[in-house]
Symmetry: C2
Subunit: 201 residues, 2 copies
């Protein structure tokens, strides 16, 4: 997605070879118009799939699940990061290890909102280690719902997340796929390039 | 907001005199069409205020800040509940005590995204004790921005939140204002009734 890549080049802060900050427009302050365009782009990419629900994880996935839900005219669900006090009923859970925070937490979804009649598109802001997304895929499978795929706004293509998801047989699409970065320099893969990433020249 | 009150009557689960679950349509599974209507309603209520940014707190405020940002065509910011690893720059912070979890956490916002040129509308899903909202109001004041008001989707009118905010001179509007509830029974205040709550008959 060209507009997104240009915005990342202009406003993204590359703090190291692995840390990219996009909190001026994606995940702290949010450009609502850009978020809506991101939703439309996921609708275009997953066109033809009979998606009934968008699924994400709190907190930074919510604005993109909302935008995608608006584009597809379906509800979205956000998984909670720990069992909340008012979540008394039966829940699907999966453990997720956060490499950033070096801790393992539980993600959970009420069983009332996901079942065999659902066709799910998982959406998140970043695809890096894939830990949270693998947890969500396992939850979708446990629920008996059909998984149409995973859509990520930004992919760190040099980390293992895509490989883990593709090994599980999941279709993965990212709107901006970074092949390499370091302070002052960022490279994106060609749009819709196959798993073997081809860099833009 | 009549459609919201009816939805709460139909789908809300009243677990006790103080706990209302609305996670089938507002804060776990989200009805995106209803969320967009909520954004339009806040736009209507705060019409004429030169709002430049919507502010909320992760996670359950995000969908309503997004909807309000869409309606007003402005960005939104969500405060983080603890200082994140990638938030290296200067932040505004405020301590918030959670009565549900019996713990105090820090909310923080990057100083880059809020300043004297901003006119802020704070939006959240629930107004109950008001703890988180008081923290956000203090942050807006510290930043030098103008505060246009606070918009909440559901207000537990029998708790102290509104009183605390009004004592601070803040204009508060809620879309569904509960005066009393218990399992099987719920009462809403008349729309736009003054601080002394008048119940519907």
């Amino acid at each position: 997605m060209r507009a997104l890549e240009e915005r990342i080049r202009r406003e993204g802060l590359i703090l190291s070879d692995t840390v990219l900050k996009v909190d001026s427009f994606l995940n702290h302050q949010v450009d609502t118009a850009l978020a809506l365009e991101i939703g439309q782009e996921f609708k275009r990419i997953f066109a033809g799939k009979p998606i009934t629900k968008v699924l994400t994880i709190e907190a930074s996935g919510i604005q993109f699940a909302m935008a995608t839900g608006i584009a597809l005219d379906v509800p979205f669900i956000y998984a909670k990061k720990k069992k909340a006090v008012t979540l008394a009923e039966q829940v699907y859970t999966a453990p997720v290890h956060s490499f950033t925070r070096q801790e393992t937490y539980q993600v959970s979804i009420s069983q009332k909102y996901l079942g065999p009649d659902d066709n799910v598109l998982i959406v998140d802001d970043f695809l890096a280690t894939g830990a949270a997304l693998v947890g969500l895929v396992n939850i979708v499978r446990e629920s008996g719902a059909t998984l149409s795929g995973v859509g990520c706004v930004i992919e760190k293509g040099f980390q293992e997340g895509r490989g883990l998801l593709e090994e599980m047989g999941v279709e993965v699409h990212s709107l901006a796929r970074i092949t390499k970065m370091s302070p002052g320099e960022i490279h994106f893969a060609e749009a819709d390039s196959p798993a073997a990433i081809k860099e833009k020249v």
